[in-house]
């Protein structure tokens, strides 16, 4: 039972330190006597390394150490799933940005100068920047041999993974259809553009043979494991401490600074600091995975969808990272929140020499939704159906089976989100000038929370009463800005029935907190929320037990005096801190743990399972645009969002995710694209890679739908990723509504919009 802290508008627990400038981010850590790192990156996306000479760099005064792969032959490869990425290139570069050498120097300027003194000779190879070229039999192999055994089909030339989705009999489904609609959609390379660049500090203790790393990560314990494996040391020899994180959006799942920092700390014997420049992070760190998505849909005259076929070709770039998982997730959700009896799909994840791609907000679901919500809109228009009614006719409801075959038995809010967003949107406004046209577009999406698919996905949290009488919550769940710390605090406050001000969240580190899994897959509210809830409940049991012994009252009244929590027994009272001291003295400390570890499953051969994801978040957005018919510029004037999150834990956090997600979706829809020319990035800075400013994003109106009864605490589901997913297709649908042009590729730049308007002979 909720006692009053859930769903209330509260201040973020970390807001004060952030508005005063006191919060310490990865870039802020420093130590006396530290050295600075710079990394030499290859400008050649695909080349054999013929010679690398660092002798002149080593001679530069102020240079402490210069290393290449030859100096550290024992280093293992890294990678989130497939270990296919070299720390330092041994023989061949695979993308522009592969690391060739590391310089450690007394200051950044010297380190930078030393880079210029390193001489490298290359033998250029054919650069593959098109995944279709990469799939041809005669294309040169980017990776020579197979990586890690995996349940998917993989390792066929440059094809990393082939995945399948089979439900019903798609041919039978198409035979039942009156109309068959086929379209091909494309999504682009997008940069996460977190405001904080990759950075960190590391220290090596030779006496203990122990490494300490201060660098942001979405998943501390996974980084710890990979770093230890790459360095060839035991896991407990590597401690990763979480600084305040300046945004992540998926990018901080990957190893960035985390291996080179401890390596250089050991080799130099000094603390080591590394802050990437914006250009370095844009050129070398992971991107959103671009996809070409072909959809074929069979529809009856009355708007019932009978069959759906999907084919996806995706470019994971030079390395796998989580690419294969992103792409099969795109495949699995490629039918949207619609019940379709006959589904067939295949996806190909392909290596190229482009900058490697990895997790970014939506993890395939963003790309899939762009395609399926454009497809739904195109079908509705072609068949003369109302876009919302057509969706409502096919939308999931209780008892629907997903494309993965999971029967939805709880918390299915698709229809409610459509109805809510439609109602709150109301009517579109009038254009601000004669040459402008207004249009409305909608999109409705689903997102499976958690890794699902049988992946060992769990979170462990601790809760304890300190001797000062405060509650300490231990969780490694990374707060990347989304506000999980505040969610966990509210959950603990609610269980313990004490104000959030009495609760502290301990520093997240691999040595003081247990594995909480990744802050990704929109899973922390569910997973760490449940873990903290369980831990707090277990702690409450211990408090009650101890109180019954010491105070003669198992369920004491609580009061707060001068910030102390006072427990009132039948005759006496004491502070919670005093109770904790007594308990500790009796060797029964007031501390507890909670673990949430749900079971999921899938058969990768068909993409079918019974419990593929633990919960599904739904979100519908209505977007209004104004299109300048003479310049092609698109102004988004309104975004109305109705996300179904089961139960709202923190309304301010929910709105913040909805607003920020919409802005990111707007950027992807209208302006963002990392452009490659033969695998070389041509726009590696914020003056050429544009993200939305305050003038580009309208006020976002969010109306939560609470379908309840989901897997998370109090029936909650997550919101991080689904917040952004409907925005881009809704904007494209609105553009089509405004000026009648059918665009299939993101982003809808003024140029593309104007060309399409001209191609159809202008606007009446």
């Amino acid at each position: 039972m909720s006692k009053g802290y859930i769903g209330k508008r509260v201040n973020r627990v970390d807001a004060l330190e952030k508005v005063t400038g006191k919060a310490l981010y990865s870039v802020d850590y420093s130590m006396d006597d530290m050295v600075y790192i710079k990394v030499l990156r290859t400008p050649h996306p695909h080349a054999l390394l013929k010679k690398i000479d660092v002798s002149r760099a080593r001679e530069l005064p102020g240079v402490v150490q210069v290393i290449t792969a030859a100096d550290v032959p024992w280093l293992k490869n890294f990678g989130l799933i497939f270990k296919d990425q070299e720390v330092l290139v041994r023989e061949k570069t695979r993308y522009m940005g592969d690391a060739l050498a590391v310089v450690a120097a007394e200051d950044e300027r010297t380190a930078r100068r030393a880079l210029n003194l390193i001489e490298v000779e290359y033998e250029p190879l054919e650069v593959i920047s098109d995944p279709l070229r990469a799939m041809e039999p005669d294309a040169p192999r980017i990776h020579e041999s197979g990586q890690v055994p995996f349940e998917h089909e993989f390792n066929q030339g440059n094809v990393l993974s082939i995945d399948h989705l089979v439900k019903g009999d798609v041919e039978q489904g198409f035979a039942q259809a009156d109309h068959i609609i086929e379209n091909e959609f494309r999504t682009q390379f997008v940069d996460h553009a977190a405001m904080e660049p990759e950075a960190g500090l590391a220290l090596y203790d030779p006496d203990e043979d122990h490494y300490t790393i201060w660098a942001a990560s979405q998943w501390l314990h996974d980084v710890q494991t990979d770093v230890a494996r790459v360095l060839g040391v035991k896991i407990e020899q590597v401690q990763v401490i979480q600084p305040t994180i300046g945004g992540a959006f998926g990018r901080r799942e990957d190893i960035s600074v985390h291996v080179i920092l401890p390596l250089m700390a050991k080799l130099t014997g000094r603390p080591v600091k590394w802050v990437m420049t914006r250009q370095e992070t844009m050129l070398t760190q992971s991107k959103r995975t671009p996809m070409t998505i072909r959809l074929k849909t069979g529809v009856k005259k009355d708007g019932t969808i009978t069959a759906w076929e999907t084919e996806i070709v995706a470019d994971t770039g030079a390395y796998a990272s989580t690419g294969a998982s992103i792409v099969h997730q795109a495949l699995y959700v490629s039918t949207g929140p619609y019940e379709i009896p006959h589904v067939k799909g295949v996806s190909y994840t392909v290596y190229t020499n482009n900058t490697y791609t990895g997790a970014m907000r939506g993890f395939g679901a963003t790309e899939a939704a762009f395609a399926y919500e454009r497809q739904m809109d195109c079908i509705a228009r072609d068949l003369g159906l109302d876009p919302a009614e057509f969706r409502l006719k096919n939308a999931y409801t209780l008892g629907s089976a997903t494309a993965n075959g999971q029967v939805l038995t709880t918390s299915v809010g698709t229809r409610d989100t459509i109805l809510s967003a439609r109602e709150h949107f109301g009517e579109k406004g009038t254009p601000s000038a004669p040459h402008k046209k207004r249009g409305v577009g909608m999109a409705t999406i689903m997102f499976g929370c958690g890794y699902g698919e049988g992946f060992p996905d769990h979170s462990i949290a601790g809760a304890e009463v300190t001797e000062e009488g405060r509650i300490l919550i231990r969780s490694a769940a990374a707060d990347v800005g989304q506000g999980v710390k505040t969610v966990l605090t509210l959950v603990a406050a609610d269980v313990l029935n004490i104000p959030p001000e009495c609760i502290d969240l301990g520093v997240a580190s691999t040595h003081s907190t247990k594995n909480a899994g990744s802050t990704s897959a929109t899973r922390q509210t569910i997973f760490s929320g449940n873990a903290v809830k369980l831990a707090a409940e277990n702690l409450l049991g211990k408090i009650y037990h101890r109180a019954s012994v010491e105070l003669g009252r198992a369920h004491p009244e609580l009061s707060i005096e001068n910030g102390d929590i006072i427990l009132h027994g039948t005759e006496k009272q004491m502070t919670l801190g005093e109770l904790a001291k007594i308990a500790k003295a009796k060797d029964e400390p007031l501390s507890a743990e909670g673990c949430y570890f749900p079971r999921t499953d899938i058969d990768y051969k068909t993409g079918q399972g019974t419990n593929v994801y633990v919960a599904y978040t739904y979100n519908t957005q209505y977007v209004e645009v104004e299109v300048d018919t003479e310049t092609g510029q698109v102004d988004v004037v309104r975004i109305v969002a109705a996300p179904d999150v089961g139960k709202v834990i923190n309304p301010v956090g929910l709105e913040g995710q909805s607003e920020g997600g919409s802005a990111m979706g707007l950027g992807m829809a209208l302006m963002e694209e990392q452009v490659f020319a033969k695998a070389i990035t041509v726009n590696p800075d914020f003056s050429t890679y544009l993200i939305p400013t305050a003038l580009d994003v309208p006020d976002v109106e969010t109306f939560a739908v609470e379908s309840g009864d989901a897997a998370g605490p109090y029936g909650a589901k997550g919101i991080g990723e689904p917040a952004m997913i409907p925005t881009a297709p809704a904007i494209f649908n609105a553009i089509e509504d405004a000026v009648g042009i059918r665009l299939y590729d993101m982003p809808a730049t003024p140029e593309k919009v104007l060309a399409a308007i001209k191609a159809k002979g202008g606007i009446a």
Partner: protein, 157 residues
């Protein structure tokens, strides 16, 4: 490299340094004065994270050389207000949920401070223009604008 003497006021206190000519104001603040609230996001004046007030005007401190700040009066987020005496903007940023990851927040606050200094009653559109040089990837700006508008209107709810 030669060093040059400079004298400047930062958050009301006078400091003297000998600096090299390639040192930027953002480096002086962060590395020499340990004023870590000012963040660097791009180094090219394109993101606004390093915004401070220089002689009362908002500037990106990555595009000011420390030698150019000789004689200047600088205010950083640390000079805006502290834990015990928050500036109304800081208070509003907390209350309106204008902070997520927080990396853009110090620069955003300084741009907001500059706006209210020169235009105490801005419209919502003027607020958008005023923070258009401060990129935020988390919030979508809505709550930041709400917070600034609340201060401008003297609301304390």
């Amino acid at each position: 490299m030669d060093k040059y003497p400079i004298k400047l006021t930062v958050n009301g206190r006078v400091h003297e340094f000998q600096v090299e000519a390639d040192l930027r104001l953002v480096d002086l603040l962060r590395n020499h004065l340990q004023l870590l609230g000012t963040k660097e996001g791009c180094g090219k004046g394109e993101c606004g994270a390093c915004t401070v007030l220089m002689n009362g005007k908002s500037v990106t401190s990555c595009l000011v050389l420390a030698v150019q700040a000789d004689g200047a009066e600088i205010v950083t987020v640390e000079g805006l207000g502290g834990d015990l005496a928050l500036h109304p903007l800081q208070d509003a940023f907390i209350k309106y949920g204008a902070v997520q990851c927080g990396y853009c927040t110090p620069g955003m606050l300084m741009s907001a401070k500059y706006l209210l200094d020169i235009n105490p009653r801005p419209s919502r559109e003027e607020i958008r223009v005023a923070i258009s040089g401060n990129l935020c990837r988390c919030t979508g700006y809505t709550k930041i604008i709400d917070a600034i508008q609340a201060v401008a209107e003297g609301r304390r709810d």
